[in-house]
Amino acid sequence: MIFGLPPLTWALIALFAPAAAALVIGVVAPLRKQGKPAAYLAVGVAALSLFAAIALLVRQLGAPGQVLVATTRWLPSSGQTLAEIGVRLDGISVPMLLVVTLVAACVQVFSLGYMADEPPPAFGRYFGYHSLFIFSMNTLVLAPNVLQLFAGWELVGLTSYLLIGFYWQKPSAARAAVKAFWTTKLADMGFVAGVVLLFVATGGFGWTAPSDPKLHMWIGLGLFLAVMGKSAQFPLHVWLPDAMEGPTPVSALLHAATMVAAGVYLIVRANPLFQAVEVRELMTWLGAFTALFAATIAVVQTDIKKVLAYSTCSQLGYMVSALGAGSLMGGYFHLTTHAAFKALLFLGAGSVIHAVHSNELGDMGYLWPKMKVTALTFIVGALALAGVPGLAGFFSKDLILEALYEKQLWGPLGMLMAAAFLTAFYMGRVVFLAFFGKRTKKTERAHESGPTMVAPLILLAAVAASAGYFGKSLAKMYGTAYHFHLGAVGGVATALGLGGLLLAYLVYGKGSVPESSFAFLAPVGRLARSGAVDKLYLFGFQKVALGLAGAIGWFDRYVVDGLINLLGWATIMGGRRVRKLQTGNVSDYVYAVIAGAVVLATWGILR
């Protein structure tokens, strides 16, 4: 067998090879400054990680139920070990590992072409960050307990910050990076609280549910808050669209396929902790609402990356909703398929942006004859997302909707159905506007991207087209059964998806239905475009938080500082008085000594 090494070795290679690469790129300045060598090192390491993941997956498929845990003591304190660190290889972590490394490898290869115009030092830095990200994400994925998962969670947050702010010279990018960081950190407070409560409740960091139902609920809510931040659920989704300020391949890897999915992964991984009824209901409804809400906003975006960003929010909503409804398989399956086709879509968008040097759909147009491969692969991704039968999204989305239908959760089901229609519509809109629209000066100059960019597109398109058929093996590894059957729900959803595509064709492709006929929806569009949630946060921050800070600041300045100043003033005044005692005159000191002697002697006599 070619994968002769023991599985643990493969896992450690997948984990530490990227870490070593990041370290080398970070420390060896000449390597980084040259750009290209660092990039090749990073890509090589990513390929190695991918190979390790494939080896592990093959092994896992050979014996689906097996679980391999290897840990070492961490945080030893007074004889007992507070926590452990290590790797856990099972039916959940191994497929996720493959998803991460596959998308990462594709994205890195793509970046070789996409980022080629960057100055060499920035180019090297970029790949250093990528290696760091793979290490962080693998730490998270392979975590054997919640604490290590949290460490990885924060590390990917850091790399996300670094990569969003990659063009740090641009003020908007720097702001977006800070916004992403702050928003997710705010949510991570929930994670910290959850982990601490978990330790209090169970004395460890494993993912067994605590017996106390109240604590169980609070742990679940705390962790879910972190999920809302990381996986961009309403109302903490605001950072994700702004995160599009980062390079497009970064958006593909972090903000579409893997990092934002970490929240969903957490729910799957530590599922027992999310089993409190309240938490599950919140997940179901909030996920469904996010799916619909983000989809409506996606419809009116004019920036191709923003459309995809809101689409990501929406699809993550699907997953969260499914997990809330108890369909772990549905959420996890959709996570993997979504990773494939959304990464594909982002890379396709990157290819287009690279060609026309603009994010705006208005600057694109009749690109189809110029960039056939990009267009074809993008269309495959779009159809997969829209849920066209036979492609990846169709199977996983169907599974989610079926699960909701089984649980008779009509409200969320309705929202998800509407979202499915809108998804198809906005993807159709993007395709028609970008590839089959009018010719412009920019589209005339566009040309197909180089081989390093096209090859990942083709690979991911193949995955996106076929991923749906791996549901059975995934389910087997996961330990559940999965049979695909197209029921009434699936039929309706498919019909809605096709209807959305048709409507998009009529409006943007054929032009037979003018856009103005949707004028009655204009208020919705305006609301969506206006960033109402952002404004709400701004209001909350400026008025409430700053007001509170002002009040506390006033208290601190005038009351607390006042007391301190009063004390200081009293000391100075007292000192001024007391220093008069020091006359510098010898006889006064003698008098003092005499007085002391008299007092002591008198006391001695009278005692």
Binding site: R579, K580, L581, T583, G584, N585, V586, S587, V590
Partner: protein, 99 residues
Amino acid sequence: MSLQPLLLLSAALFCVGIYGVVSRRNAVGILLSVELMMNAVNINLVGFAHYHASHVGQVFAVFSIALTVAEVVVGLALVILLSRARKDIAVDSAEALRG
């Protein structure tokens, strides 16, 4: 005869010395008064030695005398220094330590 008159004599001598220390302005005058006080101390020591018929009090009186000599030597050196620096050895004109 009891020891008390001797102690009273010593106390009186000491207080005279105190009076001199406080009332004198001249630094040498103060040193003289300090000598008086030390002398009172010596009388006390010798008196108690006599009372106990012991040699220890006398030994300490010798120590005390040697200390006094050392003190006088350094004190006079300081007074000379002061007189050089200020052309004046009146102690109340040297009040640089006033707060």
